[in-house]
């Protein structure tokens, strides 16, 4: 007969201890009390060998409490493990709790713990089994996955296990799968797991979570769950709240299970069988209908759980995206929520509508709520709600409403929370560019952005406005006039000075006819800001000044005075000093013709995606995705503008060097300096389809390349040509591997001999590099060049190039017939082995051209394999020293939509992803 004190819920000593701790008046007193207790427990554990289970449990529990207060515990682990082998539930429970909270997965005791769990998991007592399962799930280490990956599934489908055990087993298994997917062999029992959805017991929330995860891992094996999930859902939504007694929550039948089922269905495309599809549509309609019925309770729990189901149903409707009627109804329902008194509902409606705005069927319905959304922007108290309103306005923006939306966003920007300003600036910049019918509006908007939120206008934004002005003749005069006006404000943002400086330097002549903006006025205006600016802006202004000398010869003396002022020539900033010196020399030595050539108007920028968009995508991947249809994928052009500006400057310098030897005051030619880079650096990916070409060239040096590859071996020939009359000294060319583990290199490099250390003027030298691919890699090795151009200039110049050694160079095509291809295709069916991209065709869709590209890439373009002759299939093997990686590819064009779907499968998932991303740019 147990005494009262040993009953489960009464550990008097523990309660007393907790009270003592709570009564401590200071941290010191608390520490003292804890140390006393720790000493006491330590002596009990050490001294009395016959400590009974109850005491052990009590002390272990005290230790746990002390740990949770934030103190380190360095003993008691063994006693906790001992509790596991007790027959008493309460003792076991405390043992397991201590272990779950406190024992790290690399503990020495883990073997012992696993042994105890093994005993309990096969115990006839369901409560013991559950304790063991919960412990496995709570720890969830790789070791647990290996130890129990085979045991737990048996419980799940066992005929004897109770519903409670199955519930725990399902989630325990889910945890093990997340930890170590490969430890499970679940394919063969897929159908048994799927049929859990038919189970009578309502423990299905757990089972559905498991099936959901399995479906994500191997959709093919589990697609049978779709029809079962639909019928289960149908039974729930058509039931009355009395049908599902225990599982009805505030008059809503099984809300959590419904949500889970609806999420599960979003793993799959809309069911093809008409009956299943019809039933699903009926379910979704019923859920929408229920929202119109009068509420069965006024409690918020009722409406929350009903709406939890509704929002998930709307997610599914958006996922299906082929039922216009449902999409519009969903939109109308959300429209009602936009005005609801519950902040939560307004927030969620805005969020959900953002997705509806991306569907062609509901986009118009969303736009009807523009005014309400704008109003939300003005009146909502919670910043996160306002943020959702911004997202939605962005998503619903089109040609017809862009001016209003942009104006509202600009107005809001003035008082917007700091946290969201940068993102809003990006959004305004993108919308005003995307929907500009008139570039004066665009220019006004960006300048207003700089005025209102100058600090949040990133480089990408102000670079972009300059690019656009340069590319659009019709915007230039207006831009010059407007920046001039903006610069007249007594305090204007530095970004305004940058934009103003650049634009006036290019197009100041367009407004110089007006005496209010005569050359001298323009110059004085800009120069009045000069001293307030940071060095980078000053450097830009100096470039503007030299451009002014060309545009307005009449103010040349004034500008030369400024350039030759000691403030510039002896500036502590080397960059400013150098520019001032070079520009002043350039202006005094060269003829007007030469000056005009060197300082010619900037050529148009290549049309490409705005880097702003790339930035926004990076910031907020989820919410912008929807509305970006029509934009191409990002091309990295972070500061295109600066590059072209500096290119022009290096031109000036190169030109200069033809006439002048370095002077004693330290003029030097920055051959490779990062601030004055490159005339021409071929992006390494252009070598994806070819093996030779010019890798790099500027006025002084040319680097050519010619490569050969066979199996895992490569030979790279480099040709360095000195284009000047002077000798390049201390020349060095070193190959280094980017981001590789030095102990485990992906490429081995052996150079036959060192490159020559000098290159005579006008001469070309060769240098060969042999390499071997050890294992799969991404990117390319670096080639670092350095040299001293002038003997009397001490600092070496250097530049880093990418060698055209790309993974596809080690690929060999493999010819095969249709049967072989598809059986291998099927074998590579794990989701991790496949990467798929759908994208807009960048070139006219032409199967022959695509075939040539694929062959150039290294794959064998297979004929008579795909039943659809428009589709292109290919196969190849990447040969590395350590492994051979099979890769299969399928390219399916959609001529009407001018889109491609590219699917790559490979035994190595990374390879599939890499090939897919390399190729998508090229079709």
């Amino acid at each position: 007969m147990p005494t009262v004190s040993s009953r489960g819920d009464a550990m008097r000593g523990l309660a007393v201890f907790i009270s003592d701790i709570r009564n401590c008046k200071s941290k010191e007193a608390e520490s003292k009390r804890i140390n006393k207790e720790l000493a006491n427990i330590r002596s009990k554990f050490k001294g009395d060998k016959t400590l009974d289970g109850y005491s052990k449990k009590k002390y272990v529990c005290k230790l746990l409490f002390i740990f949770l207060l934030g103190h380190d515990i360095d003993f008691g682990h063994m006693e906790a493990v001992n509790l596991l082998s007790s027959n008493k539930y309460t003792e076991k429970q405390i043992g397991y709790l201590f272990i779950s909270v406190l024992v790290s997965s690399n503990s020495d005791l883990m073997k012992l713990i696993i042994q105890n769990i093994k005993n309990d998991i096969s115990s006839p007592k369901p409560v013991h089994v559950n304790l063991a399962l919960h412990c496995i799930a709570n720890i969830g280490s790789v070791e647990m996955s290996e130890a129990f990956g085979q045991e737990v599934p048996k419980l799940l489908v066992s005929a004897h296990a109770s519903a409670s055990v199955k519930q725990s087993a399902a989630l325990c298994l889910l945890r093990l799968i997340r930890t170590l997917p490969e430890a499970m062999t679940y394919a063969e029992w897929a159908s048994r797991v799927i049929h859990l959805l038919n189970d009578q017991h309502m423990w299905l929330t757990a089972a559905t979570s498991l099936i959901h995860t399995l479906s994500q891992l191997s959709p093919g094996d589990y697609k049978g769950c779709v029809s079962l999930a639909v019928s289960r859902l149908s039974r729930i939504v058509t039931s009355t709240y009395t049908d599902l007694q225990d599982y009805t929550y505030y008059f809503v039948p099984a809300p959590w299970l419904s949500v889970k089922l609806l999420r599960l269905l979003q793993c799959y495309p809309v069911p093809e069988e008409p009956a299943v599809r019809g039933r699903l549509v009926e379910c979704l309609e019923t859920i929408l209908n229920k929202c119109q019925e009068p509420p069965k309770s006024k409690k918020v729990q009722h409406s929350n759980s009903k709406n939890a189901v509704l929002f998930e149903a709307i997610n599914l409707i958006i996922h299906i995206d082929s039922e216009p009627n449902l999409l519009v109804r969903a939109c109308n329902q959300l429209g009602q929520f936009l005005q609801h008194r519950e902040t939560n509902l307004r927030y969620l409606a805005l969020e959900s509508m953002c997705l509806l705005a991306g569907s062609e069927f509901s986009a118009d319905a969303v736009k009807k709520h523009r005014e309400t959304v704008i109003n939300a922007l003005k009146t909502e108290r919670d910043v996160s709600v306002r943020q959702r309103a911004v997202d939605l306005l962005y998503a619903m923006c089109d040609k017809t409403n862009s001016e209003e939306i942009v104006a509202e966003m600009l107005a809001y920007l003035k008082k917007a929370d700091y946290a969201i300003r940068e993102e809003m600036v990006l959004k305004v910049a993108i919308l005003s560019e995307k929907y500009a019918s008139d570039y004066t509006w665009y220019v006004d908007t960006i300048l207003k952005l700089i005025r209102v939120a100058g600090d949040y206008v990133s480089e990408e934004v102000w670079h972009r406005v300059i690019q656009i002005v340069i590319n659009r003749d019709d915007a230039q005069g207006y831009a010059a006039k407007t920046v001039f006006e903006n610069l007249q404000a007594p305090a204007c943002h530095e970004n305004m000075v940058k934009v103003g400086g650049y634009i006036l330097g290019e197009f100041g002549n367009l407004i110089a006819g007006d005496e209010r903006s005569s050359p001298l006025v323009q110059f004085n205006l800009l120069h009045s800001k000069f001293h307030l600016c940071t060095p980078s802006t000053r450097a830009l202004l100096l470039s503007t000044y030299i451009k002014f000398i060309n545009l307005f010869p009449e103010i040349k003396p004034t500008i030369q005075n400024v350039l030759q002022n000691n403030n510039q020539l002896r500036n502590a900033d080397v960059e400013l000093q150098q520019r001032a010196l070079e520009y002043s020399q350039l202006s005094s030595i060269t003829s007007q013709d030469v000056l005009a050539t060197v300082l010619e108007e900037m050529p148009p920028f290549p049309e490409r995606e705005s880097s702003i968009l790339a930035k926004l995508k990076k910031k907020k991947p989820a919410s912008v995705q929807v509305s970006l249809v029509g934009y191409h994928s990002p091309i990295l052009a972070p500061s295109l503008l600066l590059v072209s500006l500096t290119v022009q400057m290096s031109l000036i310098r190169a030109y200069f060097s033809l006439f002048y030897q370095p002077t004693s005051i330290g003029y030097h030619l920055a051959l490779f300096s990062p601030t004055y880079p490159l005339m021409h650096k071929t992006p390494v990916l252009l070598f994806m389809f070819k093996n030779s070409g010019v890798l790099f060239e500027n006025a002084l040096i040319q680097v050519g390349v010619k490569c050969e590859f066979k199996e895992q071996y490569g030979r790279v020939g480099l040709f360095f040509g000195n284009k000047t009359g002077n000798q390049l000294q201390n020349f060095a060319a070193a190959v280094s591997l980017a981001q590789t583990n030095p102990h485990n290199p992906q490429i081995n490099v052996a150079t036959q001999k060192e490159p020559p250390s000098q290159i005579d003027g006008g001469a070309q030298v060769q240098h060969f590099i042999n390499l071997e691919c050890i294992s799969m890699f991404s990117g390319s090795p670096n080639l670092q060049l350095r040299c001293d151009f002038f003997t009397n200039y001490p600092a070496p110049q250097q530049v880093t190039l990418k060698l055209p050694v790309i993974i596809n160079k080690f690929m060999e095509g493999v010819d095969m017939n249709s049967g072989d291809f598809f059986s291998r295709w099927k074998q590579l069916g794990q989701p991790t082995q496949e990467t798929q991209k759908i994208f807009q065709a960048r070139h006219p869709i032409d199967t022959e051209a695509a075939r040539t590209k694929l062959t150039g890439f290294g794959m064998c373009a297979l004929t008579n394999v795909d039943p659809n002759p428009e589709n292109l299939v290919g196969s190849g093997i990447i040969k590395t020293k350590t492994s051979q990686i099979g890769c299969l590819l399928r390219l399916e064009p959609n001529k009407q939509a001018k889109m491609y779907r590219l699917t790559v499968r490979s035994s190595v998932g990374e390879a599939a992803a890499l090939i897919c991303s390399m190729l998508e740019e090229h079709f």
Binding site: I18, R178, T205, F311, T343, Y347, R381, D382
Partner: protein
């Protein structure tokens, strides 16, 4: 692909004292402490006019305040807000019934039982059992075990 699961559950009082911390992801001790402090800072500044959801790092916190206690669940941004909001309430109702009008002190003195309640209702970052009747039955059965 995207995993949707509970990353952690926290119960904290207004002063920032943790009354329960249940982690479903591996965090080291310093990281846990940081998360606890950040969550406290994020939720306590919000008032009744705010939503019960707040973005948090790459996740979101769904939370509800009961007297001086904040119940917070950290989930992935695409997960269902209202389902977790009501999961919190469901949990609180179970605590209330199990401890007969639960108060903060019950959670302090019976911290080891609170873990049992959590494990009955949430496991491996998922919702395990949603029926209050079933959970209470199970808890009472366990209560009577030796």
């Amino acid at each position: 692909s995207c995993i949707n699961m509970i990353r952690f559950i926290l119960i904290q009082n207004r002063a920032g004292k943790t009354r329960l911390a249940k982690w479903y992801m591996q965090f080291d001790d310093d990281e846990k402490q940081k998360l606890i402090e950040e969550v406290h800072a994020v939720v306590t500044v919000r008032d009744a006019k705010h939503t019960n959801f707040v973005e948090f790092r790459n996740f979101k916190i769904v939370y509800r305040r009961y007297a001086g206690l904040y119940f917070c669940i950290c989930v992935d941004v695409t997960d269902n807000n209202l389902a977790y909001l009501e999961a919190i309430h469901n949990f609180v109702e179970v605590l209330n019934e199990y401890f007969h009008n639960v108060c903060e002190l019950d959670l302090v003195f019976n911290f080891y039982k609170v873990y049992t309640v959590v494990d009955e209702m949430f496991l491996a970052g998922e919702i395990r059992e949603t029926s209050q009747t079933k959970v209470i039955q199970q808890l009472l059965m366990l209560q009577n075990l030796e």
